[in-house]
Structures are given as C-alpha cells and as structure tokens.
C-alpha cells in the first residue's frame, strides 16, 4: 500500500511570511498526526485528528499555527507568520485508529531566515 505522502519536501521562507504543508495519509487511516522535530531532538506532537475532529492540539501554538483535515482525509498545516524558531522538520503520520502503530511520511524541512 502507498505510504504517507507529504509536500513540499523542502521550504525556505523569510520570517513573518506564511507557509503551508500538505499531508495525504495512508488510505483508510482514521488518525492523522502532525509533529514538529527540531534538529537534534525527538518529534513533538502538534496536533492529532481522529477523522476530521481534533483529538489533541495542546502543544500547537495557536496564535500562529493552524491545521485542518477537511473530509477526514488530507490535512494541511499552516504557519502564519513564521518565526526563526519554527525552523524544523514537520512530520505527518497516520494510523488505522487511536493507539495503533503510526506510519510516518518523509517530512517537510522548513528553514526560516
């Protein structure tokens, strides 16, 4: 089966600009996750969807980050405006259901100048 798809793979922007990332999960997977991974650290969960509803967004900086999963399939993560500290890898993952094995996409590497 096809894996989790993400785009773009790389993005370079200037601070205060906006950026959007796209994720297409594995077909049939109900749960979708966005993680932020700063260089040298482990991934940190930003937001978790179950179908098109938000399960956990406690670590999402809501003043600048937003995410949606319309129709319970694809998802987009947006940052507006970006800050230098947002430079990181943004990973999308999906699982069949809550608590099941997560499958990760290749990630989007963001550099904010």
């Amino acid at each position: 089966e096809a894996g989790v798809a993400q785009s773009p793979r790389y993005k370079i922007i200037e601070k205060r600009q906006s950026v959007a990332f796209w994720c297409n999960p594995i077909s049939g997977h109900a749960t979708l996750y966005w993680y932020q991974q700063i260089l040298g650290q482990g991934p940190k969960l930003l937001i978790q969807f179950q179908n098109n509803g938000v399960v956990d967004d406690s670590q999402l900086p809501k003043d600048r980050f937003s995410a949606e999963r319309l129709k319970g399939v694809d998802s987009t993560l947006k940052i507006q405006p970006a800050k230098l500290e947002d430079s990181a890898m943004y990973l999308c993952a999906s699982s069949r259901d809550l608590g099941e094995t997560q499958y990760f996409g290749p990630g989007t590497r963001l550099l904010v100048l």
Binding site: P43, Q48, D56, L91, T101
Partner: protein, 112 residues
C-alpha cells in the same frame, strides 16, 4: 512535556558488534515503542513492547522493559552499516487520546 531520555546520545561501533541503547521515562505507560530515523527522513516503527511484557524479539532486535525502573533497552545484534540512524523510544502515557511522547534519540553510527 514528559519527554523520555535516551542514553547514550551518540554511539559509534564497528560492523558486527552489538549496539545497546537505553530509554528512561517518567510516567506510567501502556506500551513503549522504538523507532528508527535515517538522516533527514521520516521515522520507521521497529518494535512495540506492552507494559505487561518484559522482553520482545524481532529479527536482530531485542527490547526489554522494566516498569519498576521506568526504563527500556534496545539491543541490535550483529550490526550493519545500514543500521546507522537515530533511534527513538516513544510511549503512550495513558488517557483516551493515545498521545505518543518521543525521547530525544540516540545517534548510532556503524562503521564498515
């Protein structure tokens, strides 16, 4: 956040040797998982051990879990250059949302 801690932060060995990485955590857990991440890539799930299990094997991987010490170890036997990667432990700390918390990772380098 209650992030796990891996030890060591970095490990360099020769091909054919065994590699052991440790993970400590602070909360009670439902299960503990290990993931591998090749340089600049996504994570790959390696193995899961439940809180009522003490040891689990998968190919050249052996995972142990000691819930009394809140620690786990990952052993890779007969390492290969292709095992060079970062290894992360991750766990569900309970609750209905099954939020996965990752450790900071161990960077393993296997020299040919």
């Amino acid at each position: 956040s209650q992030q796990g801690e891996e030890d060591p932060q970095a490990l360099s060995i020769q091909e054919g040797e065994n590699a052991t990485m440790n993970c400590s955590y602070k909360t009670s857990i439902n299960n503990l998982q290990w993931y591998r991440q090749n340089s600049g890539r996504g994570l790959v799930h390696l193995i899961l051990i439940r809180s009522n299990e003490r040891e689990k094997h998968s190919g050249r991987l052996r995972v142990t879990l000691d819930t009394s010490k809140k620690s786990s170890s990952l052993l890779i036997t007969a390492s290969r250059a292709a095992d060079t990667a970062s290894y992360f432990c991750a766990y569900f700390s309970g609750g209905s949302n099954y939020k996965l918390t990752f450790g900071k990772g161990t960077l393993l380098t296997v020299n040919p």
